[in-house]
């Protein structure tokens, strides 16, 4: 009897099954935590893993049979783009839960609220990518962010962790304010919050109005905060260092991927305006972002801080891909082969996000594995001395992840960077590509320093020793995947390109 946007409710709900399973699962974990006192807390992590597996199955079976679908009156869309990222986020959450549980085991003290928060944050990420309405976009962003604020402050009793949580909350609220102001202006200018309406209005305009320029700029700032783009990166080192290491991995991969994915969809929506007005600004910011991240990372002694600056630098590489896409709406020469360049650029960004998730999450997994308990994390690089003799598998995996982050073949990091630079060159932005390569060379130094410490220096008494097997097993699998995708990137790359093609063209 209920007809919403021409589709009956049951079909819509079945298309929304992954989100529903995740939301209900999060609530279930909360209730189990509150009521079942006799249950050992380890079971919460099992339950969370089951919920996430359920989401993966629902996503896999559901979306394959459905084509692009606008759901709930245009609030969210169920397309290949959202399907692709749902899979990524579920994988990231699965690994995060595994890593955290290993550390909680060693610590002997479970933080039960971690599990529902991770699930809700994942839900926020999934909806952020699926959002096709400014309202959904904002709600999803807040669902993700609020959960992550609490996760960051999850090391209760640690001042650093509380400080990081507080800092992230304040900066996040700041970013949300920018985003909201931009959305309000966009609504004022186009008269609607749905992407369909905004897109139509922009397409009907001859030139972008002042309000539209301002609105898109403010929204870009909001996204800039989340992906740690200079000059909105100030929170990144402190928050990444203060947060528990498994949460840092979750943030650096999941939150960043979600923000970049949403940014890419937004860039597709407002392509003429962004290309017209914000392209030069974004170009300067991308260059500054990667250079700054790499230069400051050179002098870090804490591995989490080093990875934080490396994460800023990688935001710069990702922005290069976004710029290559924006170039299709700007340069007349490139516009003649807009689809070719755009698909190359968007596909490269998607591929890079997957690769980055694998290698960065793996690196944080090893950091988690080597941490004694939540209070003593394996943070200083000196502590990695002699790891190759003590823990050969962990050392080898970490070496693979760091090689991949530096972009050395045959790893997924190399292939990802290659695709991005290739797209940038295709978009006639050769200087940008050269600057990207120079930056990659620069970054090799600080990644190799850790590898040198692990392999060349003798072990000391206070070197890190390691923990539970499931963490190092998961990290080892990730390392194998990093290598495998470095050798055979074809399938994933094709999938990424198709996914972006269906979204944008």
């Amino acid at each position: 009897m209920t007809n919403v946007a021409g589709m009956d409710l049951a079909t819509q709900l079945s298309a929304l099954l992954p989100y529903l399973v995740l939301a209900a699962g999060g609530l279930l974990v909360m209730l189990v935590d509150a009521f079942v006192k006799s249950l050992r807390k380890e079971h919460l992590s099992m339950l969370s893993l089951l919920v996430l597996l359920g989401v993966a199955v629902a996503n896999f079976t559901g979306s394959m049979s459905l084509s692009d679908r606008t759901l709930l009156g245009g609030m969210v869309v169920n397309d290949q783009y959202s399907w692709f990222f749902n899979m990524l986020f579920v994988a990231v959450a699965l690994l995060t839960v595994t890593f955290a549980s290993g550390l909680y085991d060693r610590d002997g003290h479970y933080r039960a609220e971690f599990y529902p928060l991770v699930l809700f944050a994942t839900l926020g990420m999934m909806l952020l990518v699926a959002a096709t309405d400014l309202m959904t976009l904002f709600l999803a962003l807040e669902t993700m962010s609020l959960s992550v604020y609490v996760l960051v402050a999850g090391n209760r009793g640690s001042l650093r962790s509380s400080e990081a949580g507080f800092k992230y909350l304040i900066m996040g609220a700041f970013a949300s304010a920018f985003l909201l102001m931009g959305m309000a202006l966009l609504y004022g200018e186009t008269g609607g919050t749905s992407y369909a309406m905004i897109g139509d209005t922009i397409a009907g305009m001859n030139s972008a109005s002042l309000l539209l320029k301002l609105a898109t700029g403010l929204i870009l700032i909001g996204f800039g905060f989340k992906i740690a783009m200079v000059p909105f990166h100030m929170w990144t080192p402190d928050v990444y260092e203060g947060a528990p290491c498994y949460v840092t991995g979750f943030m650096a991969t999941g939150v960043k991927a979600a923000a970049v994915a949403a940014l890419l969809r937004f860039a597709w929506l407002t392509l003429p305006v962004l290309a017209d007005v914000w392209f030069p600004v974004l170009m300067v910011l991308a260059v500054v972002t990667m250079t700054y991240g790499n230069l400051v990372a050179l002098s870090q002694n804490s591995i989490k801080r080093m990875l934080a600056y490396s994460s800023i630098a990688h935001a710069g590489y990702l922005l290069m891909g976004v710029l290559a896409y924006l170039q299709t709406g700007r340069d007349i020469g490139v516009a003649t082969r807009a689809e070719e360049v755009g698909v190359a650029a968007g596909g490269a960004v998607l591929f890079y996000l997957v690769g980055y998730a694998l290698m960065n999450l793996g690196a944080f997994g090893i950091v988690t594995y080597l941490s004694k308990d939540r209070k003593h994390e394996a943070d200083t690089i000196d502590g990695y001395a002699g790891l190759a003799q003590k823990r050969p598998v962990a050392a080898a995996s970490l070496a693979v992840f760091l090689f991949s982050l530096a972009g050395i073949p045959p790893t997924v990091g190399f292939v990802g960077k290659f695709y991005i630079f290739d797209a940038v060159v295709k978009a006639d932005l050769l200087p940008l590509a050269i600057w990207g390569v120079v930056n990659s060379l620069l970054s090799v130094y600080y990644y190799l320093r850790v590898i040198m410490t692990m392999y060349m220096k003798p072990a000391e008494d206070d070197s890190y020793s390691g923990g539970s097997w499931e963490t190092v097993f998961a990290a080892g699998v990730l390392a194998l995947m990093v290598l495998m995708l470095g050798v055979m990137p074809g399938t994933l790359s094709q999938l990424a390109r198709n996914t972006f093609k269906f979204m944008a063209y």
């Binding site: 009897m1 209920t2 007809n3 919403v4 409710l9 939301a23 609530l27 909360m30 209730l31 935590d33 509150a34 009521f35 002042l210």
Partner: protein, 123 residues
């Protein structure tokens, strides 16, 4: 759009100029007889007894937070109640009721969680 903003800009600039003018004037013209009594903080004519930065019991914070949470959520019921008639007339009462049901049940889960976890107990 630019023409429309001129009166607004005029008002804003006039307000800024007036405020600055009076601040400067009172600073320049006003008599300055500083005394110890004048620099004490004014609390309804009663001498201040202690620092204002006292410690609160942290439970107050939790109670205030929970109140804010559930109170704000309840506010969402009002627009829904107003729109509900329209849904009934359109024959979609079940849909609207279901939506609010989902919303409230999420709220209830949160409430139960808080209760079970001892968030409502004072000690």
């Amino acid at each position: 759009m630019a023409e429309q903003s001129v009166p607004l800009l005029l008002v804003v600039s006039l307000a800024i100029v007036m405020a600055l003018l009076f601040l400067v004037l009172s600073y320049v013209l006003g008599p300055k007889n500083a005394s110890a009594l004048k620099s004490t903080s004014y609390e309804c004519g009663i001498p201040a007894r202690s620092s204002v930065q006292i410690r609160f019991f942290v439970r107050f914070f939790l109670v205030a937070l929970l109140f804010l949470l559930f109170d704000l959520e309840a506010v969402f019921l009002y627009p829904w109640a107003i729109l509900y008639r329209g849904f009934v007339e359109a024959g979609r009462a079940g849909f609207a009721l279901g939506e609010m049901g989902a919303f409230v049940s999420i709220l209830v889960v949160g409430f139960v969680y808080v209760w079970k976890k001892g968030g409502l107990e004072w000690q």
